[in-house]
């Protein structure tokens, strides 16, 4: 009786059910990988030579040297931290009106399009590229870094804020409109209470991102800890570089921990 049932079963493929298309895709992926790997020219001699330096870097990371370059490190840290805070504050202040303007359900269409365009430009340009241009215009130093981070903050916060406003509970807005409130009263009573906790959370998150980015844009001359790091790596001072990296990691960890605590506290 049991013999009437088949003894084989093949799992039907979930994403690409057509067998021929699937094989074609698999071959395509394989061909791509072969081509991609063939473009990677590795100078093995250089790599083996580098292993010794790699070892020194790992040793430097395990036994960091905080003291011998401490003046440079602390100077870079102060620049990075002040740059981070000021750019986040200014960026958030600018991105609130732009975020409101980029919410389809609150503003007329031309305003919406202009604000969304600003957001799109800010988001599609890499921080480092923006930093290169701003350094060219404003000279070396943290001021260019401040402007870069502010610019990046605007795109980030305004986009997420606008998306949030578009998703708010329409009934609450309706209720305020029904009482005859003006547009500003609508913002204050219907939008603000729903958006405020989220805005604070996003700002704290962006603070964290801005600090991490501040370590990068220094490489192209926009001040901060990145400049110090760049110098120490150029001089092959891996123990100082290890110290800087550890400080960055520690600050990011503290920022993450305290921002999650602060968010809980504010809600």
């Amino acid at each position: 009786m049991i013999a009437q049932y088949p003894t084989t079963w093949r799992r039907p493929h979930q994403i690409v059910p057509d067998r021929r298309l699937r094989i074609a895709l698999q071959i395509g992926v394989l061909v791509y990988l072969v081509l991609a790997f063939s473009t990677v020219e590795v100078n093995w001699q250089r790599v083996t030579e580098g292993m010794e330096r790699g070892q020194r870097f790992i040793m430097g990371f395990l036994q960091p040297d905080f003291t011998s370059r401490w003046r440079d490190i602390s100077q870079g840290l102060i620049e990075s931290l002040t740059m981070t805070l000021t750019s986040t504050v200014v960026g958030v202040l600018i991105s609130v009106p732009i975020g409101i303007g980029a919410a389809r359900n609150l503003v007329p269409r031309p305003v919406y399009l202009v604000c969304r365009a600003i957001v799109a430009v800010s988001r599609s340009l890499q921080e480092v590229i923006v930093a290169i241009f701003l350094v060219a215009m404003f000279g070396f130093g943290p001021f260019a870094g401040f402007l870069t981070l502010t610019f990046a903050t605007i795109g980030f916060i305004a986009k997420l804020l606008a998306d949030d406003i578009e998703e708010i509970d329409e009934t609450q807005a309706e209720a305020i409109r029904a009482t005859g409130g003006t547009w500003f009263q609508l913002l204050d009573y219907a939008i603000k209470p729903q958006i405020m906790p989220r805005l604070i959370g996003l700002s704290l998150y962006r603070l964290d991102i801005n600090f991490r980015e501040s370590a990068v844009i220094g490489i192209v001359g926009a001040g901060g800890i990145g400049a110090t790091l760049n110098t120490s790596i150029d001089r092959y001072e891996y123990d100082s570089a290890g110290a800087i990296l550890l400080i960055i990691i520690a600050i990011v960890m503290v920022a993450e921990y305290s921002s999650s605590y602060l968010r809980k506290f504010l809600q």
């Binding site: 049991i2 049932y5 088949p6 003894t7 084989t8 079963w9 799992r11 039907p12």
Partner: protein, 273 residues
């Protein structure tokens, strides 16, 4: 034959979920486990296959003690015990067939299960079980494409694929509508009768327990307060199990449900006629 002697469970929080539970289930018997929520029903059946570790007592299935086993031995005993869950607990993103075959995991080596290369006999049996629960046509569908009653049938087929010596059934009908509940209970009792399988069924629905169980055990606050045939389950006994207030509320709910059901049946009959 399953034998529980003085099984107790105290959770780390200090809550005593079970205290001194002793029970014997002979081959082929279907035992309904009733009691208010928090009485320890779920803990009791999870102690048997050791998804929950009992703190004291002994559990013996077919002459083999289960409480002291670990690692490989525990897995070897677990595969003898089929379990059916309240919300089906199917792996939603796998196909129906894979869910049934997962009942063989305790028997097959890792590479077979990983490559889905099960032995012919296992696959044949899985098809047979799917046919038995009436889902042969759905073998290649994903589990989350099925309705509640169909998913529970897959759950039953998975448990049977283990070739179990015992079935543990945790609230099999709690997520189903009354009509499907009865179908599932009927299927379960039929299957146990066919295979002479003992089963322990957690069930919150007293009328359903009365209708389908051969024996009923009442649990209250982790101790057995009733253990007899369904016919001995008097109002007094139920009041003892559930407490006066709760039982009245439950009975009222059941009456309402029964009325609604008979009403629906009448309408169905009219449509059919």
């Amino acid at each position: 034959m399953l034998e529980l002697s003085s099984v107790s469970k105290t959770y780390r929080t200090g809550d005593a979920a079970l205290s001194d539970v002793s029970l014997q289930v002979p081959k082929g018997q279907i035992v309904g486990l009733i009691g208010p929520s928090g009485a320890g029903k779920s803990t009791l059946i999870r102690c048997i296959n050791r998804l929950v570790e009992p703190t004291a007592g002994d559990i013996v299935l077919g002459g083999k003690s289960l409480v002291s086993l670990g690692g490989r031995d525990l897995r070897r005993q677990r595969r003898r015990i089929g379990m059916i869950f309240q919300e089906y607990a199917l792996v939603e993103r796998l196909t129906v067939m894979e869910n049934v075959l997962s009942g063989r995991l305790g028997y097959v080596p890792f590479w077979r299960s990983f490559l889905r290369r099960y032995e012919g006999a296992d696959i044949q049996r899985a098809y047979q079980l799917l046919d038995r629960v009436g889902l042969l046509a759905h073998a290649n569908k994903r589990a989350d494409a099925l309705s509640g009653g169909q998913r529970q049938r897959v759950g039953i087929a998975r448990a049977l694929a283990q070739d179990p010596d015992l079935l543990l059934v945790d609230e099999p009908t709690a997520s189903l509508d009354p009509k499907t509940s009865r179908q599932i209970m009927r299927l379960l009792t039929e299957i146990c009768a066919e295979r002479n399988l003992p089963a322990i069924v957690n069930i919150h629905d007293v009328p359903l327990a009365r209708q389908f169980m051969q024996r009923i055990v009442g649990l209250r606050a982790g101790t057995v307060v009733f253990d007899d045939a369904p016919s001995a389950l008097t109002e007094d006994a139920l009041t003892e199990i559930y407490g006066a207030e709760d039982w009245d509320a439950m009975r009222k709910g059941d009456d309402e449900q029964a009325e609604a059901e008979s009403d629906a049946l009448r309408q169905l009959a009219e449509v059919g006629a």
